[in-house]
Subunit: 283 residues, 2 copies
Amino acid sequence: MQVIERVSELPTVLDAERRAGRRVGLVPTMGALHPGHHALIQRAAAQCDVVAATVFVNPLQFGRGEDFAAYPRDLGADVTRAGRAGADIVFAPAAGDMFPPGHQTTVGAGRLGEMLEGASRPGHFDGVATVVAKLCALAGPSRVYFGEKDYQQLLIVRRLAVDLGFPVEVVACPTVRDLDGLAWSSRNHLLDPHERAAAPVLYRALRAGAASILAGELDPAEVGALVGDIAEAEPLVSLDYAAAVEAATLAVPEKLHGHTRILVAARLGATRLIDNVGVEVPA
Amino acid sequence: MQVIERVSELPTVLDAERRAGRRVGLVPTMGALHPGHHALIQRAAAQCDVVAATVFVNPLQFGRGEDFAAYPRDLGADVTRAGRAGADIVFAPAAGDMFPPGHQTTVGAGRLGEMLEGASRPGHFDGVATVVAKLCALAGPSRVYFGEKDYQQLLIVRRLAVDLGFPVEVVACPTVRDLDGLAWSSRNHLLDPHERAAAPVLYRALRAGAASILAGELDPAEVGALVGDIAEAEPLVSLDYAAAVEAATLAVPEKLHGHTRILVAARLGATRLIDNVGVEVPA
């Protein structure tokens, strides 16, 4: 396992791998690696010859009053976990090396970054887009792995790679869940035991929403209300949004059709969680 | 001479060149190639093994009411000129291929993009930054050539390459001037004969500004006023700005010192021209 801390070193190392004929896989993370990340790295290792997991808590994607300082950090544990999952390289730059003083170029995610999570977290996706663009530029030609858990982020990264012309293939991996259905997130262990016990309601609500669509409900507002009502029936849950949208654009259609995504965001105590499921509307 | 029109083709062609051990030079232009571009391509050909000149009138960097439609376009002539200067490849994508429907990711130039030209042309440098980022992403590891004529653009592109981590080396080339001192610009031949005869006053004004600094004037406002007064003494000139600033940051210092740049922008009839010179303040 090679740990790279200097931004200038990553392109050199990965260029040498490519010159030797090896295909590069990149798995961007903010660390605090959990089984969801494990699955991303495993998939990358199965499809690529050399896998670099990046561990960087990106200050640009946290808003004022969000949990940047509290976000869990343990590089030693992350290196061990990344290695077990199949990573060959961990890229863990210092914030002052990724975004040195004078840094001022930013990437804007556009319309896709303004709705849902973007409406709740202004500037969040521009911060994501800026760091992902830089990681793509540093990594060079590669496959880049993102989880469906952050579904809106996945769409934005796909769009970004095409729009800016990066020679990367974005690979989406299914959400990994704990036994009770809660999607793995680095924020889960900020939950206290009561909140942790309540949290799976989000996935139950999403499944109920999907079931209602499969049973014939085509009004996105009705599906969103159903999901929101189920989530809010849990007293520890404070709902942010629940929405059924077109999977490709996140637009709210008049009537649901084709590839549909149901997304939910809620706060449990001080911790904000998001989740989503896909559903194919019967023709 | 190879003309590439498809965006997807450029990375493939340039990757093959690099695999064959050849160093790639990139010369981004908006076409209407003149002796300034010729010098950029010539310099690239001297320093690189394969040179791609790009010809793309970037809609994102024109504001409402600016001369996007009137901007001169003649691909056939540009291919001939680029080849004579030493280019091996002309990359001339269609606008709908560079920025297809649904395109929404943008690059923001930051503070450097807000002053001087940016204040006069809101959004201009974000449009420049977006297309340059895409050209860098498509081209891959390379040397990229820009002229000092567009000095603020040069600073922004340098900053962008570092900030976003592109594996490119930005090479600055001196402004090329006509015999009477007018900086070559694709917009020069939009001038009528009277305007063309009046236009060299901009360079004369800049030289007078530089001379005043060398003679001991260290107040940036005084230098700017002198340059502006000389330019405006020409009845066909409508001054936009004249400023003496720190060369690295474009900041206006209290007292001029070290690397200094004097910049001027003015309208002659319907045509807006810019120019600048560097001056080293005596210690």
